[in-house]
Symmetry: C2
Subunit: 128 residues, 2 copies
């Protein structure tokens, strides 16, 4: 079996993650990658995803489904999760650092970051 060129392979994974805003899981990447690389092993997908994370090219995010999700949008932003269909969407409302100042005013903590997730129904699901 021909060895896969290192950068080709990892680049394909990066392209895949970049191609969607659906915050895919390793399994989704694996399933899609198999169309191009039928012999790929899921362990290899995990390894390369973790390398991309450690290189800062993608981010790993955990939601409430005990499955890692990956996001090529590495900037600070908030998320919406549909409680019915499970869709995870980026939100365009501005990241608000003043929330961190508020916490620092009320506590002794040094705040570096925060995360804000909204739960509800997406356009489709709220109609049914």
């Amino acid at each position: 079996m021909a060895r896969l060129n290192k950068s080709d392979f990892r680049d394909s994974i990066l392209e895949l993650v970049k191609s969607t805003e659906a915050h895919p899981t390793a399994r989704w990447v694996y399933d899609n990658l198999r169309e191009e690389y039928p012999s790929v092993a899921i362990g290899t997908v995990y390894r390369n995803l973790n390398i991309l994370v450690s290189e800062g090219l993608i981010k790993s995010i955990q939601f409430d489904d005990s499955t890692d999700h990956f996001d090529a949008n590495t900037g600070k932003h908030y998320h919406f999760i549909c409680e019915r269909c499970g869709a995870i969407r980026d939100l365009q409302i501005p990241f608000d650092p003043s929330l961190e100042h508020l916490v620092e005013k009320h506590t002794e903590y040094k705040i570096h970051n925060h995360r804000l997730d909204f739960y509800g129904l997406c356009e489709q699901c709220k109609r049914t």
Copy 2:
């Protein structure tokens, strides 16, 4: 071995979770419960924790460590997570429903809830 009275056992778990604000894991509950009930199985702890969750007496929360945490504070509140020691603390800053209105103004989503976590260093860890 004498059968454990249903409410005694489950109540002990509830008491344990109520006794701390540290957002304990099932394993922590298990380890502490064994002092009083040395023969308890961890599966039983999980079963009872899940029953307490479904009864609305405690909440299950996932953070970034792929382990379920339980919280007897069932009211809406925000969390702080220390990036160094892993401590999870409740925050006293008010829950702000206007954040949900902001999202509804900018999107087509129907928002039911939100979650806000702050990351940084706790009083102890920020000194070292």
